[in-house]
Symmetry: C2
Subunit: 265 residues, 2 copies
């Protein structure tokens, strides 16, 4: 890490809870590699404090921007002054640039970061049958990005099925030719299975999907970064699947986020 001085620009990550976030280490290493006099620090803020904190950050003139994560991604949509198209389409924001005049510009980079992470690992999702567990901000981002990357079919699986249907309807509006399903039980028929729920973050969490249906030849990806090996990834490994943990995916996303915040070119 670079030493922090009066010249250092500040960046943040907003989350609740905060202890599990790995972004400070990864982003600060990237800023250091690029010789940027900037530092990213964790901001622990509850949903009912989010608007006040964002209003305060508008007034902080050496603040460059922030990453928004669980549970703030959907709520950030209404707190930005302008949105990049993907954020508006997904209905969630994961990265915000603070302009010099205090305006907040929201982007959604989770999805493209996920797809780039898969490609970097040699798994181009084009033509695959894909299954996404979850229908929240992260799941929406991943689902839109997979649709854009040319998957052959897409299943959105969510405990509350009407939310999965609502997400499918929004995807269908942009990708009318893509076969969509909300059948959460169809795990076996997929090429790519992704957990985009928070299940697996806390000890004792239920599995986000029927891991008994996993089989060799499938790719199982995880959005959760801590623990590095979730119960789903352990089950997938046992079942002979190739796995894609959350932390390497974060590393692929981090330079996209640094660029959006103007920390690097």
């Amino acid at each position: 890490m670079m030493p922090i001085t009066g010249h250092t620009r500040i960046f943040g990550i907003l989350a609740d809870p905060i202890h599990h976030v790995k972004t400070p280490e990864v982003m600060n290493a990237l800023l250091c590699r690029h010789g940027v006099d900037g530092v990213l620090v964790p901001f622990h803020v509850a949903p009912d404090g989010l608007a006040a904190l964002v209003a305060g950050l508008r007034a902080q003139q050496n603040f460059g921007g922030f990453i928004a994560t669980v549970p703030h991604k959907p709520a950030m949509l209404a707190l930005c002054d302008a949105l990049e198209p993907e954020a508006a389409r997904v209905g969630a924001v994961n990265c915000v640039r603070r302009e010099a005049d205090g305006r907040m510009i929201g982007a959604m980079l989770d999805g493209i970061g996920f797809v780039e992470g898969l490609r970097a690992a040699g798994h181009d999702p084009r033509g695959m049958r894909a299954y996404v567990a979850g229908a929240g901000g992260a799941a929406s981002a991943v689902a839109f990005a997979l649709a854009g990357a040319g998957v052959a079919a897409l299943t959105i699986a969510n405990r509350t099925e009407y939310k999965a249907r609502a997400l499918c309807n929004r995807i269908a509006a942009s990708y009318p030719a893509l076969p969509l399903s909300t059948d959460a039980t169809d795990v076996a028929g997929q090429d790519l299975v992704m957990n985009a729920t928070s299940l697996g973050m806390r000890e004792g969490d239920a599995l986000p999907l029927d891991a008994g249906a996993l089989h060799p030849g499938q790719i199982v990806a995880e959005a959760i970064m801590q623990p590095a090996m979730t119960p789903l990834l352990l089950a997938a490994q046992t079942a002979g699947c190739r796995i894609q943990p959350g932390l390497p995916m974060l590393e692929c996303q981090i330079s996209l986020m640094a660029r959006h915040m103007g920390a690097i070119r």
Copy 2:
């Protein structure tokens, strides 16, 4: 510096301008020496953004507190939820602790830090005739602390004399036996001369007092930290005075501030 993770507590320094502040380096070195998982970062905020930023920091649950410096010390008085007695008496706040429930507790440690810095350098102000240039937040803090430390007489010198008189009246209410003056021209008759204005921070600034009247045997102290050697200190050195720059004074204050913010015991 310790690596920044999701567990790291955040502290700040609020200033306008910000580039000159030296507190991040000094405080982060102290936190590191004490093994504290915390980091202090610079927050550049203009006066019209101060209330919004402080409101935002109330919502930041891993925020421990902040140091307030020019021009925010007097304004912080009204933005705190509770004040330590010295802050209420001086009418300014230089350090704020954020309680777990978001309440902001203001303290004024500039004055006692200055006096402790003098004592550490072997200059006990007891019995000295002291001259303070300035009548703002820092000057008030230093003046009250010098009165408390038992100076023999105290001159408050300010371009706008009624502000010096107002400060003298406030000091007289607490120290009725102390001889007080607002005669800015009486530099030669002093043992201790202190600059508590911002003159000397920017190139081309006028001197804060008549440096031609300085002579050997006097101690000349500076509140400004950047540049380390202000034109006043250079003139004092040439005149054969002992000098006390601002940065070593900051180092004496920094552990008082770390304690108030709850960063160290």
